[in-house]
């Protein structure tokens, strides 16, 4: 296999809580690789560390209270981002690695026109004049499918709808043609029709510009449609990683199974939605052993004591003892 574009190894991002009473281990030993041109989906429910992972890659974690533990490695084209000086890091942000944020309503500066904001990265990284940046902004707005871009470029964010703003955010991220795009829940704040449009747009732009996309979402449907490979996160750890088709065909980790069972299906008879019992535990006190054991239907003594490593063969691995002892898997409850 070729050298990955972005390699995250044993990433640990901790937050010291108020008055030093405890340490929230928001991201606790996450590793994955992103290759040129592919889409990697990161899935998990709220609080599992998805967003902290993505912010850590660009080192946008507020420090303090947050800090990335020594020993963590985030390699981009062979350079460890965690060892870079602030100026070198800024040269990468928005230029080589760009990010689309979750909330299009609040992620644009209300006092500047969208043209100013789309062109900003080009001014910073390519030294464009204001005039050239404006022309570039119009070009980008055309690319992301904003109608009448030459007029819209002078609009303020409040004059645009949510879907349009998310397009602007994407334009803003892509101005410098980055090699990696981190999309943190890019469609969560949008309604479904707009969501489909935005995902389609991302897919088209990825093909046109040949970039790698790190797609962070809690929506398995989005992942199924977009990602080549999937990383499932739970409690600050990677619990399963697999090519998308393999993951949906045969999930190995009970958490992944639970997530899939919780997706409402339009083709199944109406029934109560499956839910995973309990909640994600607090990041200041992860459970011992396997972090999923309190919520796992299959858990036995070993799960409470010993933390499983990522087990499995080839490109499909899961952090679960069941991989080694499949006989302990309890039969699925009869579906209502």
């Amino acid at each position: 296999m070729t050298e990955p574009l972005l390699r995250v190894r044993d990433l640990k991002t901790y937050f010291v809580t108020e008055h030093g009473r405890g340490t929230a281990r928001a991201v606790d030993g996450v590793s994955f690789e992103l290759h040129a041109g592919e889409t990697l989906g990161i899935v998990g429910e709220s609080g599992c560390g998805k967003t902290v992972t993505s912010l850590s890659i660009l080192r946008l974690i507020p420090e303090p209270p947050g800090h990335i533990r020594p020993g963590s490695v985030i390699e981009f084209e062979g350079r460890n981002l965690l060892a870079l000086a602030p100026a070198e890091l800024r040269a990468i942000r928005g230029n080589q690695i760009a990010m689309v944020f979750q909330e299009p309503m609040t992620s644009l500066n209300p006092v500047f026109t969208i043209g100013d904001q789309v062109g900003e990265a080009a001014i910073i990284h390519q030294g464009l004049s204001r005039k050239a940046a404006r022309a570039r902004a119009i070009e980008m707005l055309t690319l992301v499918g904003i109608p009448d871009p030459a007029q819209r470029v002078d609009d303020y964010p409040h004059q645009l709808s949510g879907g349009m703003r998310q397009r602007v955010m994407i334009a803003m991220a892509l101005v410098c043609h980055p090699k990696v795009l981190i999309a943190d829940e890019p469609t969560t704040a949008l309604d479904v029709t707009i969501q489909a449009q935005i995902l389609e747009l991302l897919e088209r732009l990825q093909a046109e510009l040949g970039m790698a996309v790190l797609l962070i979402t809690h929506d398995l449907g989005v992942v199924a449609g977009q990602a080549d490979r999937v990383v499932v996160m739970y409690a600050g750890q990677v619990v399963e990683t697999a090519p998308t088709t393999a993951l949906f065909d045969q999930p190995l980790h009970p958490y992944t199974e639970g997530l899939m069972a919780a997706v409402p299906r339009i083709d199944a008879p109406k029934s109560r939605l499956q839910a995973i019992p309990g909640q994600v535990p607090a990041a200041t006190a992860w459970p011992s052993g396997c972090r999923f054991h309190p919520r796992c239907p299959h858990a036995w003594t070993k799960c409470k004591i010993e933390e499983p490593p990522l087990l499995g063969t080839g490109d499909h691995t899961a952090r679960c003892w069941l991989v080694q002892e499949p006989a302990r898997r309890k039969p699925a409850p009869p579906s209502q």
């Binding site: 660009l58 946008l60 303090p64 602030p86 100026a87 800024r90 040269a91 990468i92 942000r93 928005g94 230029n95 760009a98 990010m99 944020f101 909330e103 609040t106 992620s107 644009l108 500066n109 209300p110 006092v111 500047f112 900003e120 990265a121 910073i124 990284h125 409040h158 955010m169 803003m172 991220a173 101005v175």
Partner: protein, 310 residues
């Protein structure tokens, strides 16, 4: 006073009135403009300020005498208001209206520039403290605490004792340098809240450095309270200048400022009250107008009063 001067004064008055009317009409299309003029005394405030600014700018036109000239020290001292000397004359037989008009130049310039120095410095310190937080914030804000704890008038007295009579530029600087503490606290609080907003993270994610983030993304979103505090602050600086001049340590005579005019007239309060009344009235009017405009600006600009979604 000569006929052309009366005429010019009338024009100044008319222009100020017309200006207010025009401003009201032109801003009526904007929500913020309507909110501004909804304030009961905003129109009057703008009018008074406009009038005094016009008089200050056109001082040679609206007056007929040199403000420093002692017209006739024997026969014309402490004359009550008349058609020739509309506000009367002072103890040195100088025309009071000329001195009020030329004094407006000094007082308004000291007020505006002093506040400009204070707001610039306060904004810089507050923004740096609020953006970097931690030890930078702690050091700067403890410095501000010290600044706020020192009685300002004594700091000014020390400066004047050290350097003697200050030229006007130095006076502006000294007033500005001792007036920025409150502003910096205000700006810091505002920056602390704005820096957490999503678009600031988005700006950092496209590679903007700290300077760019502070000046392009944070401060413009914190502008409203800064503008309001500046408008209200000019009045304070004006009063401070008047107080210093009254004590004889501000603007040096014979240059007219409203403060030293009151000082000149104070001994004759009983026999020639107009010599203190008119400059005092000018100070009171301008400060009241500034407060009204500051309040109205707060109504118009401060987003927390809006309560409307975009």
């Amino acid at each position: 006073m000569t006929l052309p001067a009366f005429f010019a004064l009338f024009v100044a008055f008319a222009v100020a009135t017309w200006g207010v009317r025009e401003a009201r009409l032109r801003t009526a299309r904007h929500e913020a403009g309507r909110r501004f003029f909804r304030h009961p005394t905003a129109g009057w405030g703008i009018g008074v300020l406009a009038f005094f600014v016009i008089v200050a700018v056109a001082a040679p036109l609206v007056t007929s005498y040199d403000p420093r000239a002692q017209l006739d020290i024997v026969h014309l001292k402490n004359q009550p208001p008349s058609w020739s000397y509309i506000l009367g004359t002072d103890v040195y037989s100088r025309d009071l209206w000329s001195r009020v008009a030329f004094g407006a130049r000094v007082s308004l310039i000291v007020g505006a520039l002093g506040m400009l120095v204070a707001v610039t410095l306060g904004t810089l310190v507050g923004a740096v403290a609020g953006y970097y937080r931690h030890w930078v914030d702690a050091v700067l804000m403890r410095g501000v605490d010290v600044g706020l704890a020192l009685p300002r008038i004594f700091v000014l007295l020390i400066a004047i004792a050290l350097f003697g009579q200050l030229p006007l530029a130095a006076l502006v600087l000294v007033i500005g340098l001792t007036s920025w503490f409150g502003t910096s606290r205000l700006v810091r609080a505002e920056v602390l809240s704005v820096r957490e907003r999503d678009f600031v993270a988005a700006a950092r994610a496209v590679g903007a450095g700290p300077g760019r983030v502070i000046f392009r993304h944070v401060l413009p979103n914190a502008a409203a309270p800064i503008i309001v505090s500046a408008a209200l602050g000019i009045g304070n600086v004006l009063l401070l200048e008047a107080a210093l001049s009254f004590l004889g340590i501000g603007v040096a005579p014979p240059t007219a400022s409203w403060g030293n005019m009151i000082a000149d007239g104070a001994p004759y309060l009983a026999s020639a009250p107009w010599t203190t009344l008119f400059p005092g009235l000018a100070i009171a009017l301008v400060v009241m107008a500034l407060n009204a405009v500051g309040d109205a600006l707060r109504d118009a600009l401060d987003p927390r009063q809006e309560g409307r979604a975009t």
